[in-house]
Structures are given as structure tokens and as C-alpha cells.
């Protein structure tokens, strides 16, 4: 991997720190003046900051056209102790700039959307003062994500890695006093952070191993020395990559650490779209792709990565089928799609993974934002419907429950159409973007890993099925609640970004269109030795047929065989019995973790705190104190207070010493 030295960096590349600084400036402006100048200012500053960041990314993109080998841009010395040196240095290459473009591009659209969405949301939740805070967090997220993707070494990547985790924590718990019992949101946030920390632990260990064996954490240095290590002690490299995988499973919500992502939907919808669908959760995929030089040296690790991804994809898809919360379906779908990407990265198909990452960012952001639009519509409808009928309404009305919807196609047409585009793209229907990217992954699997291919194919079927189910339940059929009946289309500030994302979702396939392979040639400069992609018409045909089958089956069940007419009506799939209950209860994984990790830990903590710490350890010192008190009590008899006795003892002592001196010497 060619690395320019410091003195010959292109001026255009020198601008790279600004992808981080612009959001930071926006954040500081909002912190200082946001309260004074109000909502419009906050939203505008945050969006403009992201736009500026996007602009810098674009300029880097164009600069890279001429010099695709990229550069490492040092900025500041960070830590230097002994032989350990880490700098704040930025990496400009095709891979990092791709990520920057995705993050700032999608981020920009979501920022714009959020200016409208949060306006409603803060009023709906009764604290308009938090509008500014939202955009502070959002800009912080963009900054951290930029640090992550622009890092030149693993430690700086780790900074961004944990930084986005922090933003995720803050934004999931944005309405920290809301949720079930008022605490559910806060708990979801905490869960996300802690589960991510478990993953980060793995990444940390991987970093330690790297430093131990390579003496550096810089990408270039690590990748350069990796083959030597692989030849000498492949076990170490295996451990390193597997520990890194633990980090990936945390951030990218893979088995076994995926449990935080569904709960993370407690955050406002733009958060779900930006952080928990489009960008942050793909950081793990980015890490694996970035570390391809390491993974390609240990096939065992690749196998593990692949299987983790494939199993997660399948497992999450089964759960998605049985969810009623519109955002939860999308959350499990996200986990599943991340599984696709991780599997692709594990197979060494880095381009396919990045391709799917990009298209997924488009269509999943679109789906989430559209879902947000639906939720806003239902909320507004609920308010409208109950304003002039009865004042109180039923308080447990859930605007995110798909059973409460239905027939929104006519009431929110624009949202419907963009949602349809997103859903079809996700299902992999040609010629939308998802088709191309998913097809590449399937094709890569078909070549070498047939088992994986079948799992992913089944998953693709399930994906199409649950998206079809969702489309029918939300937009099709009959109106099941008054709220749904009173829903209206949202304002332009909310729908415009949807249209933008819909266009991207539809045309995203052009990025790596078969034949031109734009993305592949672009990433070639960074990822060495990638196998040339090829378009396999048969695989494509199979996958489209499978997707159509899934959609068709969903339509058949939910629209034709047993159309939903009432929100109390059970799901037709309940007839599956145990299987349904398992899927609906998320296979009880949360409960399992609670029983085998959380509970024992709490018990251990209380055991150590009370019987052990206060009882045993403190008792030792307490016992010593007790002994000396006892001894004192025994000896106090001597201190009878009578002066003459003391004098007697003194004389006794004198006599004894004298006798010793005179007789014994």
C-alpha cells in the first residue's frame, strides 16, 4: 500500500481534518448560541456543518481521481511513550473517502429531515428545549464517525469507534425519562453502551496484540508486517483477528452481541436511520474490510467471520418476521443486512461488502425515515381523531404498532411510494440498488461457500417476506384505527429528503453496475488483490425469483388469504405455533443473557460487597482492632489509678534492672 510521505502530500488532501472539524464547529456554535437563536439556527448550523463536511469529502473524492493512491495526513502527535507512538493522522484513500461520502451524504439528508422531524418530536414529547441538544449530539456523531473512517491507525479508529458509541448512548437515551416505566429508554441506551463495550474489549485486546507483535498501530505498518507474523506464529494473528471480530459483533450487531440494536430503536427516528442503520453499525464492516490484509492471511478467521455474518443474517430475519413494531422490523432487518455485509467481508469480497454497505445506507435510511414519517402521520392522526371525539382517548396507543395502521397508501401517498422503493430495494428486486449489491454477495458465496449461499438465499427470501408483510400491514388493506384514518402526508422538509434517498436507493446500483464496475475499480487502489467481480445471470435470476416469491407469499397471506381488518386480530402466522412464539419472543435471547450474565453478575456484586468486603476483608482489620481493645481491657487492671501502685511498679522495675546489672554481669 503506497503511502506518501509528509512533505509530498497534495494540498487537496491536507483539507481532510476539516471533515472532523466542521461538525465540531457546528457543535460548538450550537452549544454556545443555540439557545439564544432558536430552532431554525440550530438545525441550519448542524445541517450546514454536515454539508461542509460533505463538501470536503467531495473535494477529496475529486482529488483522489487524479491521485488514487491516497495519502496519510499527519495532524498532531498524540501519544509518545518509549517505542509507542500514535498520532492524530488522517488516511485519505478510496476506502475512507467512500465511507466519508456515505456518512456525510446520508448524514446531510437525515439532518435536513431531522430539522423537520425533531420540531414535531420535541413538541410531542413536551420538551422543546431539547431541540438544540439533539443537533449537538448529531454533529458530535458525524465528527466521531469521521474520525473513525478517516483514521490512519487503529487507535484513532478506536477513538471514533467508542465516540460513536457514546453518541449512540446519548441519542438512544435522548428521551431518557420516557419509555416503559419512564426508564426503558435510558436502559436501552445503557445496554447499547455496555454491550458495545464488551465488543470494544475485544478490539482493545486485538490492539494490544498488534502492538506486541508489530510495534505499531498504523495501518500501513501493521499490514506490512502481517505476512511475517502469519508465517511465524499464525495463532497470534488468528487471535488478533478473532478479538477484532468480537469488536465487530458489538458495533455491527452480530451474534452474539446484536441484542442492543433492537432496543436502540428507543431513540428518535432520525437516530435510528443515521446511526443504527446507515452509518455507525456499518463501522464493523468497514473495520473488517479495512483489515482485509490481516484477515486474508488467516482463512480460519475468515471462516468464522463468514459464518457469524451468515447466521446473524438468517437469525435476525426470522425474528423480523414476527414483529409488529414498524421500527423493530427494520431494526432486525438491519441486523440481518449487516450479517450479509459481514459475511461478504469474511469471504474476502470486500467490494461487495462496501457496495452493500453503501446501498444499504441509502435504502435503510430511506425506510427508517419513511417509517418516521408514518409514525408522525399516525401520531398526528391520533391527536386529530381524538381531539374532536373524546378527550382522553386510550393512553396505551402505540403509534409504532403496525396493527394500528393499514390503508395508509391513499392517505400518505408520497411516503408510500418511497417506502415501496426502499422495501423493493431491500428485497433485492431488479433494478433497484439492493439487487445489485445483494447479488454480488450471493455470487461470491456461490463460488466457494455453498452452505453460506443457501443460508443467505433463504434469508433473502425471508427478507422479501417480512418487507412484503410490512408493506401490506402498513399501507395496504383496510384502515384499522381512527388514528390511521386521520393520518395525513407530512410537510416538504420531511418528504424531500425521502425523495432524495429514494432516488439514491433506486439508482445506487449504478455505483458498481455490472460491466463498468465503478466501485470496484475505485476501491482497487486501496484493497489489494481483490478478485474481479462478474455478473452471473443465473444467480441474479434465482435471487430475483426468491425475492418475488417472498413478496408474493406475504401478499398472499396478508392481503388475500386473511386480510387484516381489526387491530386486535392475531397474526395469521400464529398458526406456526412454537415457531411463531419463538420468533415473536426473539428466541428469548435477552432473557437468556439476563439469566446467565446479568443476574449472576448482580449476585456476585452483592456477594462481594456485603459478605466478602464488609464481612471478611474488613473483618480482618476489625478483628485486629478488637484484639487490641481486648488486650487493653485486660491490661487496664494494672492502671488502677492509685499512684502508689504505679510507684511500686516503678521501684520494682528499678530493682529488677539494678539486680540485673549487679548480679548478672
Amino acid at each position: 500500500m503506497p503511502l506518501s510521505t509528509a512533505n509530498e502530500i497534495l494540498p487537496a488532501f491536507q483539507a481532510v481534518p476539516w471533515v472532523v472539524f466542521f461538525p465540531l464547529i457546528g457543535l460548538i456554535l450550537n452549544l454556545l448560541f443555540g439557545k439564544r437563536f432558536g430552532e431554525k439556527f440550530s438545525g441550519a448550523v448542524a445541517s450546514l456543518a454536515t454539508l461542509a463536511s460533505f463538501g470536503v469529502a467531495l473535494s477529496l473524492f475529486f482529488a483522489l481521481q487524479a491521485h488514487p493512491e491516497g495519502a496519510s495526513v499527519p495532524f498532531l502527535q498524540w501519544i509518545q511513550v518509549g517505542d509507542f507512538v500514535v498520532n492524530w493522522a488522517f488516511r485519505v484513500d478510496t476506502l475512507s473517502v467512500t465511507m466519508m461520502l456515505v456518512v456525510s451524504g446520508v448524514g446531510l439528508l437525515i439532518h435536513i429531515y431531522a430539522t423537520g422531524y425533531m420540531h414535531e418530536d420535541v413538541r410531542h414529547n413536551g420538551d422543546p428545549g431539547r431541540y438544540r441538544r439533539f443537533f449537538v449530539y448529531f454533529n458530535l456523531f458525524i465528527a466521531m464517525m469521521m474520525i473513525l473512517v478517516s483514521a490512519d491507525n487503529y487507535l484513532m479508529l478506536f477513538v471514533g469507534w467508542e465516540g460513536v458509541g457514546l453518541c449512540s448512548y446519548l441519542l438512544i437515551g435522548f428521551w431518557f425519562e420516557k419509555g416503559k416505566d419512564g426508564i426503558a429508554n435510558a436502559q436501552a441506551a445503557k445496554k447499547a453502551f455496555i454491550v458495545n463495550r464488551v465488543g470494544d474489549f475485544g478490539l482493545l485486546i486485538a490492539l494490544f496484540l498488534m502492538f506486541q507483535h508489530f510495534g505499531t498501530l498504523e495501518f500501513a505498518g501493521v499490514f506490512e508486517q502481517a505476512p511475517v507474523l502469519a508465517a511465524a506464529t499464525p495463532g497470534v494473528l488468528l487471535a488478533m483477528t478473532l478479538f477484532m471480530l468480537l469488536g465487530v459483533t458489538g458495533k455491527s450487531a452480530q451474534i452474539p452481541l446484536y441484542v442492543w440494536l433492537p432496543d436502540a430503536m428507543a431513540g428518535p427516528t432520525p437516530v435510528s436511520a443515521l446511526i443504527h442503520a446507515a452509518t455507525m453499525v456499518t463501522a464493523g464492516v468497514y473495520l473488517v474490510v479495512r483489515s482485509t490484509p490481516l484477515y486474508s492471511l488467516v482463512p480460519e478467521a475468515q471462516t468464522v467471520v463468514m459464518w457469524v455474518g451468515a447466521l446473524t443474517a438468517f437469525f435476525a430475519a426470522t425474528i423480523a418476521i414476527a414483529q409488529f413494531d414498524i421500527k423493530r422490523v427494520l431494526a432486525y432487518s438491519t441486523i440481518s443486512q449487516l450479517g450479509f455485509m459481514v459475511a461478504a467481508a469474511g469471504m474476502g469480497a470486500g467490494v461487495a461488502a462496501m457496495f452493500h454497505l453503501t446501498t444499504h445506507a441509502f435504502f435503510k435510511a430511506l425506510l427508517f425515515l419513511a417509517a418516521g414519517s408514518v409514525i408522525l402521520g399516525i401520531e398526528a392522526g391520533h391527536a386529530r381523531a381524538h381531539a374532536h371525539t373524546d378527550e382522553h382517548g386510550h393512553d396505551d396507543f402505540d403509534p409504532q404498532d403496525m396493527r394500528n395502521m393499514g390503508g395508509l397508501k391513499d392517505r400518505m401517498p408520497l411516503t408510500f411510494w418511497v417506502y415501496l422503493i426502499g422495501a423493493l430495494a431491500l428485497s433485492g428486486i431488479a433494478p433497484l440498488s439492493g439487487f445489485f449489491s445483494k447479488d454480488e454477495i450471493l455470487h461470491a458465496a456461490e463460488k466457494d461457500h455453498l452452505a453460506i449461499f443457501w443460508i443467505l438465499l433463504i434469508t433473502a427470501f425471508l427478507t422479501a417476506f417480512y418487507m412484503g408483510r410490512q408493506l401490506v400491514m402498513v399501507f395496504g388493506g383496510t384502515v384499522r384505527t381512527r388514528a390511521a384514518g386521520a393520518a395525513r402526508e407530512n410537510s416538504a422538509i420531511i418528504t424531500l429528503p425521502l425523495v432524495g434517498l429514494a432516488i439514491l436507493s433506486a439508482l445506487g446500483g449504478l455505483l458498481n453496475f455490472p460491466g463498468s464496475w465503478g466501485l470496484e475499480h475505485w476501491l482497487e487502489h486501496t484493497l489489494e488483490g481483490i478478485q474481479p467481480s462478474e455478473f452471473a445471470p443465473l444467480t441474479a435470476l434465482i435471487s430475483v425469483l426468491v425475492a418475488l416469491g417472498g413478496l408474493g407469499l406475504a401478499y398472499a397471506i396478508y392481503a388475500v388469504i386473511q386480510p387484516l381488518t381489526d387491530y386486535r386480530q392475531p397474526d395469521p402466522l400464529t398458526r406456526l405455533g412454537v415457531l411463531w412464539r419463538g420468533m415473536a419472543n426473539k428466541w428469548k435471547v435477552d432473557e437468556l443473557y439476563h439469566a446467565i450474565i446479568v443476574r449472576p453478575y448482580e449476585a456476585l456484586a452483592h456477594f462481594l460487597a456485603s459478605p466478602v468486603d464488609q464481612g471478611v476483608i474488613d473483618a480482618v482489620s476489625g478483628g485486629l482492632a478488637w484484639l487490641s481493645v481486648r488486650a487493653g481491657e485486660g491490661l487496664r487492671v494494672v492502671q488502677n489509678g492509685i499512684l502508689r501502685s504505679y510507684a511500686l511498679l516503678i521501684v520494682l522495675g528499678v530493682a529488677a534492672i539494678l539486680s540485673y546489672l549487679i548480679w548478672m554481669r
Binding site: 498524540w78 511513550v81 437515551g173 425519562e177 435510558a186 445503557k190 470494544d200 502492538f211 476483608i617
Partner: protein
């Protein structure tokens, strides 16, 4: 002869003398005099820093006068500072004014005594960090005990007497053995001067392990290392806020400082021999402190146990005996002083508002006190080791250093220690959730006041330094790197010679 350090160390006593002539009733005058004195001391420490030559590892600003003789052994009045001392001095002078500022509303009774003890304490602490003679060190070491004893015992909470006596006895117990070791060293070598003793190590090489243990016991109690930590929660919970800040921020560092200053250079062979055991205890401390913190219901106790965990990191780094481990430890000493000091300040602010430290009495108050909540979150995250804040830099370098340490010989120490990073997030976030997140459960919390200007001023400097260390720790590393490499060279050459 350089008088800078003398001036610095004893400058709080000037304020002490002024306080003597003020009346108990002149509360604000008493407070201002104490605060200004500590600020002057801080200024003097900056002046010392300005004279300090960064690139050198040895002692600077040395003041060395023969003092008196004890059975033919020379005791010198020797003071000096290297990178390590300098950092600790700066930490002390930095935290003291902030701690004093926090007492503005918290201490209303016997203000005069409080301020006087506080200034005495500062002199004691500065003396500990600059003394370069064993006897002088011991005098300052014991000297810090007395003001702290009274600070806890007079201005403390309900069980203050118990806590103060426990604090005193625990520390005293260790110090007595240290005194024996100091006497042995001095009387066998004919000098108590640290630098001369370091050069004349052969004289007591035979008794190294025992001497090492005697010193280590005193320091380990002070740190405190598991299982000698039980005085700490009591002392912290009962101490007044400012006392807790100084106790956690500086007094605990005297323990780890002692290891670095005495155990390592004086007994390098014994250090090498015993390092794995100490590291094992440190790891137990990291995990144990974190787990026990989680079970606490009292915020202050939680923070106190978290100190056990954090100081475990420091000890692990020291006994890794690598450049990264040592430098990380020193930085982590500073970090812990800042983060935990700030946490105690915040807990003190909560306590002033609600007069309880039970987490169950709070809940959801971020809505009421947004600034306090944000600062608390910031400091908690720094304590939990979030990258780009100070805690991460320290913990990461420590773990990095101990992971590949040849002295420890196994990555397990660091591997298990790294689990502490997860557990720290667990207990701190649980604490934050119980106190600040969720719905408001108690009506009296609805009228809590947010931080006022004085409180913001108390914490702002700490927050700035937290961010500074997190983003650009080079200044701190550059300050200590020469000292660290010198220390490391001492240990390594001694080890070579013995082998």
C-alpha cells in the same frame, strides 16, 4: 541551592500564619485568605515548572543541606523534583484551590480550623512529593496524616470518628514498618539521602526483599491495594467533600508515588522478583473494585470503590515495568486525581442540595439540572475511559505496556485488567442512570437548583484539563518520559547485574 521548592512547599504555611490572626467570625476573609494562598502556591508551582528543563530525567531544582546526624548517619534536608514529582506537585497545587472553592457553602462551622488544616495538608503533600531524603520524606508522610485525620474527624459525616480513626490506624500501621526499614537503610548505609542510597545499594542488597515489603506495605495501604482497601470507603464517605477530593486526588497518589520513588530505584531486584504478585493483586483490585462499586447504593461509596479499581490500573502499570506501563501509571495517577476529584465534587454538590447520597433518592434529575447532569456524564465517561478523554490515554497505555511486559511474562494480567474497562462502564452508567435518567420519582427533586457560577468555576478547570490530556497528552508524557526511562534503566541494569 535552589530555593524554589522550599518556597513552594512552605508557601501554604504563610497563609496558615495569616489565618492565625483572623477571627472565627470572619468567615469570608478566612476563605479568601486560604484560597488566595493556595492560588499563590499554584502560581509558584507554575513558576517551578517554568524553570524545569523538560528533557532531563534527573532531579532538578535541588535543595540539599545537611540537616542533622543520627547515630552517625547523615540526614539531609534534600528536596528536588523530576518529571514525576513535578506532575504530582502540579496536581496537588491544582486541586487544592478547587477543593477550597468547593467548601464555600459546604463548610460553615469552624471555618478557621478547616482552612488551617487544609493549608497544613497542602504543605505536607508538597513535601512528600519533593522530599529526597528518607527521613524528610517520612516526616512529611506522617505530617499529612494529622490534618486529614482532623478534617475527617471534625467536619465529617455521622460516623466520622470511626472513619478517621480507621484511616489513621491503617496508615500508621504501614508507616511504622516503613520507618523501621528507613532506619535500617540509613543506619547500615550511613546516609538517609535517597540519591546516595540509590548508589550504595549493595550495602543492603541482602535484606532487599524484607525492606521492599516494609515499604510496600505502607504504600499499598495508602494506594490502597486490594485487600488493604477497607479504610477507603469509610474515609471517603465520611470525609467532607473537599477532604474526599484531596484524599482521592492526592493522598492516594502518595502510595503509588512511593512505589515509584523508593521501591523501584532502591530495590530493583526485589521489584522484579515480586512484580507479578503485585500485578496480580492489582488486577484483583481492578475487577474487585469495579464489581463492588456496582453493588453500592451510596454514590460516594460507589466512587470510593471505583478508586480501588482505578488505582489497580496504576499499580498494574507500575509493575509491568515497561515504559508504557510506567508512563501510563503516572498519567493515570493524574487522571484519577482529576476524574475522581471531580466526581467527588459533583457528589458533594448533590449532597448539598438534597442532603442524601442514596441513589434511590434521585432519579431523572437531568431534566432539572441539565448542566450538572452533563458535567457528571462527562466526568463519568472520563473515569470510564472513553477515548479522547484523559482516562483512556492512561488506561490504554498501562494495558498496552503490561500486555507485552516481559516482567509479568503473560498477557493475562492486562487481558483481565481490560475487563475492568467494561465493568467501569457498567457501574458508572448504572450510577448515572439511577441518579440522572428515568422519570423523576421524588417531588423534592423538582426544585433542585442547577450549578451556580462558583460551582461551574470549580469544575471548569478540571474539565479543561480532562479534555487536554485526552486530546493532546504529549505535554504530560514529555514531562515524565525522561524520568520514566531513567527509572526503567535503573531497574533493568540492576537486574542485569544481579543475573
Amino acid at each position: 541551592m535552589d530555593y524554589t521548592l522550599i518556597l513552594l512547599t512552605f508557601s501554604p504555611l504563610v497563609g496558615f500564619l495569616v489565618l492565625l490572626f483572623l477571627k472565627e467570625e470572619q468567615k469570608s476573609a478566612l476563605r479568601w485568605v486560604a484560597l488566595l494562598t493556595s492560588l499563590v502556591t499554584f502560581g509558584l508551582s507554575l513558576w517551578a515548572l517554568a524553570q524545569f528543563r523538560m528533557g532531563e530525567g534527573g532531579l532538578q531544582l535541588v535543595f540539599d543541606q545537611p540537616w542533622f546526624r543520627l547515630s552517625g548517619s547523615q540526614i539531609t534536608f534534600a528536596m528536588g523534583a523530576d518529571g514525576l514529582s513535578m506532575l504530582m506537585v502540579l496536581l496537588t497545587t491544582f486541586l487544592t484551590p478547587l477543593a477550597l472553592l468547593s467548601t464555600w457553602s459546604a463548610v460553615q462551622e469552624r471555618v478557621k480550623g478547616f482552612m488551617m488544616f487544609f493549608l497544613l495538608l497542602e504543605t505536607g503533600m508538597l513535601g512528600v512529593f519533593t522530599a529526597q531524603d528518607l527521613v524528610l520524606f517520612y516526616i512529611f508522610w506522617e505530617f499529612t496524616l494529622i490534618p486529614m485525620y482532623f478534617l475527617i474527624g471534625i467536619w465529617g459525616g455521622e460516623r466520622r470518628i470511626y472513619a478517621a480513626v480507621k484511616f489513621f490506624l491503617f496508615t500508621m500501621f504501614g508507616s511504622v514498618l516503613m520507618l523501621l526499614a528507613i532506619l535500617y537503610l540509613g543506619l547500615t548505609s550511613g546516609t538517609f539521602s535517597l540519591s546516595e542510597l540509590t548508589h550504595a545499594r549493595e550495602a543492603f542488597a541482602g535484606a532487599q526483599v524484607w525492606l521492599w515489603l516494609a515499604f510496600a506495605l505502607a504504600f499499598a495501604i495508602k494506594v490502597p491495594m486490594w485487600p488493604l482497601h477497607t479504610w477507603l470507603p469509610d474515609a471517603h464517605v465520611e470525609a467532607p467533600t473537599a477532604g474526599s477530593v484531596i484524599l482521592a486526588g492526592v493522598l492516594l497518589k502518595m502510595g503509588s508515588y512511593g512505589f515509584l520513588r523508593f521501591n523501584l530505584p532502591l530495590f530493583p531486584e526485589a521489584t522484579l522478583q515480586l512484580a507479578p504478585y503485585m500485578a496480580a493483586l492489582a488486577v484483583v483490585g481492578i475487577l474487585y473494585g469495579a464489581v463492588v462499586s456496582f453493588a453500592q447504593t451510596d454514590v460516594k461509596k460507589l466512587v470510593a470503590y471505583s478508586s480501588v479499581s482505578h488505582l489497580g490500573f496504576v499499580m498494574l502499570g507500575i509493575f509491568a515495568l515497561t515504559a508504557q506501563g510506567l508512563a501510563g501509571s503516572i498519567l493515570q495517577m493524574v487522571n484519577h486525581g482529576l476524574s475522581t476529584g471531580a466526581l467527588f465534587l459533583l457528589v458533594g454538590m448533590l449532597y448539598e442540595r438534597r442532603h442524601t447520597r442514596q441513589m434511590s433518592a434521585y432519579g431523572g434529575i437531568w431534566k432539572v439540572v441539565p448542566v450538572l447532569g452533563a458535567v457528571m456524564l462527562f466526568v463519568s465517561l472520563s473515569s470510564a475511559g472513553l477515548p479522547a478523554l484523559n482516562g483512556f490515554v492512561g488506561e490504554f497505555t498501562i494495558l498496552l505496556g503490561s500486555f507485552s511486559s516481559s516482567t509479568l511474562g503473560s498477557p493475562w494480567f492486562a487481558g483481565l485488567g481490560a475487563l475492568g474497562v467494561i465493568l467501569a462502564a457498567v457501574y458508572l452508567l448504572v450510577m448515572f442512570e439511577r441518579v440522572f435518567l428515568g422519570p423523576i420519582k421524588h417531588a423534592e427533586n423538582l426544585s433542585l437548583k442547577d450549578m451556580n457560577l462558583r460551582e461551574v468555576l470549580t469544575l471548569l478547570p478540571i474539565l479543561v484539563v480532562i479534555l487536554w490530556i485526552g486530546l493532546y497528552p504529549s505535554f504530560f508524557f514529555n514531562l515524565m518520559n525522561p524520568t520514566v526511562s531513567q527509572l526503567l534503566a535503573t531497574v533493568q541494569t540492576a537486574a542485569m547485574a544481579i543475573r
